[in-house]
């Protein structure tokens, strides 16, 4: 039996004191699902049961409410605090039951705002950046960097940055990824200076030296380790120079600045494709984020996560005490931060090198242990990069690849609003032209999974 119920605008309805009220579970527009509540489980229902309509449906401009026996279903579409008046009848007396419900907004919708940073602020930076390069072997380098949703709703700048350089005549590909500290006022500049200076310095080292003459690839004892440390240090020095320059002319920024105002992490990788097709990678890291070589059979973490799981503390390129440590014991410093990885041609065609800021790694790898979990890395590559970003090993280099990565990197994950930067490098599988690497037969076993936890593998 349908009972006619007059529609009452909830916005203008003010439940009077003394009317029976029942509070329903909160609705969430995060996952817009109907809220179904069994009124009979609510306190005081017995007294009301006889007087409630058996069946009713009501339309409000914030959603729909239907009653069927003791079951009430609510389909909200607008966040807010609502009182739903349900007319009741007993022995000719009219009364109203008030159902109260809170409808939570969808946080993703609240985050959709894109507010431009102040146009008169120093160190302007675009909210996103991307690039795609071809390698001589027919592979691709794809990078994307995007301002986090947190910065977007606050109207602040992207603090991440990246820089890529290719030296094809020497078979080298250079990568730098940096995450400017959210707490540092000019970290957007720090990350840019660090990546640019480090890559410039590294390029010079490689061009000036005979690193490329090392036919066996990159060795731990060779010149690449010191070159990476020197490159990182030049990033630090570029920031020191900037501070000195700005402080000698304080009208530029309005006040004195310190190196800590430019705090940034730095991840560096130098990849060398050898004459025999094998690969050598030298990697260096200060701060969080990750550098990883990931193939179907193994993942090799080429960065050591800094800081504790709980502290949220990270190390910065701009920490003077780190460089004091380096000055007092350069060998120990290098050993603690430089990782060397070599593989033959077959392996080189099945793996992917990735450098990422913690805005990308944190949502997928929430602990240090997880960063060492090969199955997670393989899943990340296959699900996120191949399926979601649609970047296949066989994808020919094109600007669209960079666009795809930039779009993917905007993924929404609860509690993660940070800037995100990802750089990836991979060579085509010469045996499987035209196929994506995701079609390779998975061959995970526990022995393989160990390779990521064995530092020896990466040193």
């Amino acid at each position: 039996m349908n009972v006619f119920i007059p529609q009452v605008q909830s916005e203008t309805f003010r439940p009077e004191a003394g009317l029976p009220r029942l509070r329903l579970p909160n609705a969430k527009l995060r996952k817009p699902e109907p809220i179904t509540a069994d009124l009979s489980s609510l306190k005081g229902y017995e007294m009301l049961a006889q007087r409630l309509p058996k069946k009713a449906s009501l339309a409000f401009d914030w959603g729909e409410v239907s009653i069927d026996g003791s079951s009430v279903t609510i389909n909200p579409n607008t966040p807010g605090e609502y009182a739903i008046p349900i007319p009741m009848c007993k022995a000719g007396q009219a009364d109203i039951l008030v159902l109260q419900i809170t409808v939570n907004p969808d946080p993703t919708a609240l985050m959709k705002k894109e507010i431009d940073p102040p146009a008169d602020a120093p160190y302007q930076k675009p909210s996103s950046d991307k690039c795609c390069y071809a390698t001589d072997q027919g592979g691709h380098i794809v990078c994307a960097s995007r301002r986090g949703q947190g910065h977007a709703i606050d109207g602040s700048f992207r603090d991440d940055d990246f820089k890529v350089e290719t030296i094809p005549e020497k078979g080298f590909y250079l990568f730098a990824v940096a995450d400017g500290a959210g707490s540092a006022i000019y970290s957007r500049r720090g990350s840019k200076l660090a990546t640019e200076a480090a890559i410039e310095n590294l390029k010079k080292s490689i061009n000036d030296s005979n690193l490329d003459d090392d036919a066996d690839g990159i060795s731990a004892e060779g010149a690449i380790g010191p070159a990476l440390v020197a490159a990182a240090k030049s990033g630090f020095m570029a920031i020191q120079d900037e501070v000195a320059r700005k402080n000698s002319n304080q009208t530029e920024l309005g006040k004195a600045v310190s190196v800590n105002d430019y705090n940034t992490t730095l991840l560096l990788a130098a990849v060398k494709v050898n004459a025999d097709g094998g690969l050598g990678i030298g990697a260096f890291a200060i701060g969080d984020g990750a550098i990883v070589w990931c193939s179907d059979s193994r993942s090799v973490l080429l960065s050591e996560p800094d800081g504790g799981d709980y502290a949220g503390e990270t190390y910065f390129l701009t920490m003077e005490r780190l460089w004091k440590t380096e000055a007092s014991d350069p060998v120990a410093f290098r050993k603690s931060r430089v990782r060397i990885f070599n593989c033959d041609k077959e392996d080189s065609r099945h793996g992917t090198l990735m450098l990422m800021t913690d805005g990308v790694s944190d949502p997928f790898f929430p602990s240090h242990e997880r960063l060492r979990d090969h199955s997670l890395w393989r899943e990340f590559l296959n699900t996120q990069i191949r399926e979601n970003a649609k970047i296949l090993r066989s994808s020919p280099p094109s600007p669209e690849l960079a666009t795809q990565l930039l779009e993917w990197i905007n993924f929404r994950e609860r509690g993660h609003f940070d800037d995100r930067t990802l750089a990836l490098f991979e060579l085509p599988d010469s045996n499987k032209q035209g196929e994506g690497a995701h079609s390779e037969t998975p061959s995970l076993n526990s022995a393989n999974a160990e390779s990521i936890s064995e530092k020896g593998d990466a040193q």
């Binding site: 907004p105 709980y310 949220g312």
Partner: protein, 228 residues
Amino acid sequence: MSERRLPVYLLLDVSGSMDGEPIQAVNNGVNQLIADLRADPRALDTAWLSVITFGDEARQVVPLTDLEDFQMPELTADGCTALGPALSLLCECRKREELRGTTEHSGDWRPLVFLMTDGEQNEGDFEKGIADFKSMKWGNYALCAAGPQAEVSDLKRINPEKVFKLDNLGPGALSKYFKWVTQSIKMQSKKIEEGTAQDGDGQGGLDALPPLPDVATPVDSSSIPDDI
């Protein structure tokens, strides 16, 4: 994928002296706090709330609950001020409710605690409460002595640097207090998102929290005799 919770414990005095306008202002204040936090996407993603009241006894009236599911019951005021037992109960609840970090998951962020009292400890074991509270590390906390009758020296025994006084128990002052608590929670969820939340935030004074409202005055710890 991962998600780390930010637990927030509100410790509210519901002793007899809060009866009438003050407890109504507290009810309104907490409801406004919830409504404001719900409009903040960062808080919606991270904040979990619990309410512990203390009158004749300490009671957890709302267990640690996702902000989205949180429903505030109407508080009424009556009885003594079981401040010590409230601190002990807080620690018990935290131990029970906290998700610890494992090799596979990051644990919760350290909790924020906002304690408000209008009187003096006069029920239950205060020494145990202080000892329990001090035995744990907190993300941050603030101790509010609200109104003229509030005993500042009780709160200072917990930590003098975290104590401030609220001028009065009127709706205006309490509303400003709860707005400040709201700002503090939003600030912490922003820090978490930016990766700038630090273990050390809970150390030191009230500096890591937003500026106090104009109706509040920090208690100068240096001018108070040492109570050890």
